[in-house]
Amino acid sequence: MTDSLLTRFGRAVMATGRQPAFLLAVPSLVLFTVFFLAPLGWMLRLSTYESGGAGQSKFYEPGTFTLARFVEIAGDPFFLKLGLVTLQVGLIITAVTMAAALPFAIYVHRAHGIRKRLLLFAVVLPKLTNLLVLMYGVLLLLGDSGYINQILLALGVVKQPLPLFANLAALVYGEVLIVLPYPILMLVAAMESVDPSLEEAARSLGANPFRAYYEAVLKLIVPAIVTSTLVTLIWGLGAFIAPTVLGSPDYYTIAIQVYSETLENFNWPLGAALATVYVAFVALLVAVALMVQGRVARKWAHTA
């Protein structure tokens, strides 16, 4: 902070001379551009190839250019229904996830010491566990001979096992389990970064505990709430595992269609086109959300 401009300049020159910061950033930039951006670009290009001939003997027809896949997607009622189902599933998952994530993040934030660490551990563990293990556990819980049905039958509440899985509710139950840790961790991190003395100040000025928490914590993390909702929505729209394992074909999503066009029908251009539609839709969504958030934030800044 108090360094003179000269010493700072000198240190910067010395640093670039010995180990340029840029060189150190190269591995990450290579990983990002070569193995994330380039594949994304190639996938976009692939969506404009002709499909690979009779019986899909090739994955795609090199040297062609066509927008036929997109026309196909836009014109076919099957794909329209697919898009609507994906949107419906994504929105329901987002609503349920955020309804649980925000209060639970507050719950974690209010906890202390070892209890807080255990709560965080409980949140992180499913995220670090294999999703299939999770889905398997949910199957054991909700299946026809699953534990909920066993308990209900044993208690005599029902005579026949309830159809608890292969439906929308089971799908949401499973996918929320997959997505939930993301918003919780993001929200807790945001809450932790709020200065706790603000809340104390609000209390000492006579606000009741709820009001103080609302004014001095929750209002300050609105951007984090928006971001985590957005992330949840992106994941909800990309739902794949829970709809396959726990849902029914009525609720198959775009992600599942990408998989089956690519790896079951070997129609790579169509799979790529579907993935492109998803990416474009999400990019638009994020752009709009950021724009709205920026405008609202500016308005708040003016009124405050």
């Binding site: 640093a15 180990q19 340029p20 840029f22 150190l24 950033a25 591995p27 990450s28 990002f32 193995f35 994330f36 380039a38 994304l40 190639w42 996938m43 692939l46 994955f59 649980a100 209060p103 639970f104 719950y107 660490r117 965080l120 551990f121 409980a122 949140v123 992180v124 563990l125 499913p126 670090l128 566990t129 294999n130 999703l131 299939l132 293990v133 999770l134 398997y136 556990g137 949910v138 199957l139 054991l140 819980l141 299946g143 389990l177 807790v188 932790e192 970064s193 992330v231 992106i234 990309g238 794949f240 595992i241 396959t244 394992v245 992600a255 990408v258 998989y259 790896l263 993935a275 990416v279």
Partner: protein, 276 residues
């Protein structure tokens, strides 16, 4: 006045109970599926069930798992993919964290945000684009192609852990070493490295666990020769539910918990995750 006070107090207690009940329900929701999958793997008998005192426990399903060469091959593939992916994540994460903390990389936030981007991209999209790209450049059917895809998720998290580790190392230590005649490399090797070693271990474990459990990218990129353990569980879970699947899942779960326990011991995981 007195009854008023009592009612208020009772209401407060009820509210408190409801609040804790809510917390408990969410925790149960998060953990019960894991515990069920784990418990079932010890159930003696061909069907699915939870072991009780009457039934006793069995390790038969684990024996069956380790006796079947296909499962073992899957476990081995998962191990290799995890190792390669961890190596990539550590190299990328550590160099970038050094560039940011020690060399004041310009555009730090831009690079950090870019690197974070894949974490928010669903695995189906990364799997799809990695598949078509791997096919194009001739990497398809290699374990490396899966490892690189996993590294897209693991690197940003490794970077965050290492960044927080490096930020906690006082830079004056390095300056002191330098003023005593240590080369930058020597200062790094003998001063910084021992101090960040726990963070490096934690970053490695997180990267490894992510790779070990990731499944959708492995599903897209995997070929019969490069099936990871999760990819082998997938068709089983869709078509039949056998206790061996529970054993296979539990092997993943046990490996994960051991890894996290080690990580939690060496660093304060909670703090690391919040990027501090």
């Amino acid at each position: 006045m007195g009854t008023h006070c009592v009612i208020e107090r009772v209401l407060l207690i009820v509210a408190k109970c409801a609040w804790h009940a809510f917390g408990l329900i969410v925790v149960a929701y998060l953990l019960v599926p894991l515990l069920l999958a784990f418990g079932v793997s010890f159930y003696p008998g061909r069907s699915i069930g939870l072991p009780t005192l009457a039934t006793g426990l069995t390790l038969d399903w684990y024996l069956e798992f380790f006796r079947d060469p296909r499962w073992v091959a899957g476990l081995r593939n998962s191990f290799y993919v995890g190792v390669i992916s961890t190596a990539i994540s550590l190299v990328c994460g550590l160099t970038l964290a050094l560039a940011v903390t020690r060399h004041r990389l310009r555009g730090e936030t831009v690079v950090g945000t870019l690197l974070m981007l894949p974490v928010f991209v669903p695995a189906v999209i990364i799997g799809m684009q990695s598949l078509v790209f791997a096919q194009r450049i001739g990497l398809w059917g290699t374990l490396t192609s899966i490892a690189i895809a996993h590294a897209l998720w693991a690197t940003p998290l490794a970077y965050l852990v290492l960044l927080s580790g490096l930020r906690r190392v006082n830079e004056e230590l390095e300056e002191a070493a330098a003023s005593l005649g240590a080369s930058p490399w020597a200062a790094f090797r003998y001063v910084v490295w021992p101090l960040i070693a726990p963070s490096v271990l934690a970053a490695a474990i997180i990267a490894y666990v992510i790779s070990l459990n990731e499944f959708i990218m492995a599903l897209f990129l995997g070929t019969p020769d490069t099936e990871t353990l999760p990819k082998m569980i997938w068709p089983q879970i869709r078509h039949s539910v056998s206790p061996v699947v529970a054993a296979a899942s539990s092997v993943l779960l046990i490996l994960t918990v051991i890894a996290i326990a080690i990580a939690a011991r060496v660093v304060n995981l909670g703090r690391a995750m919040q990027g501090r």
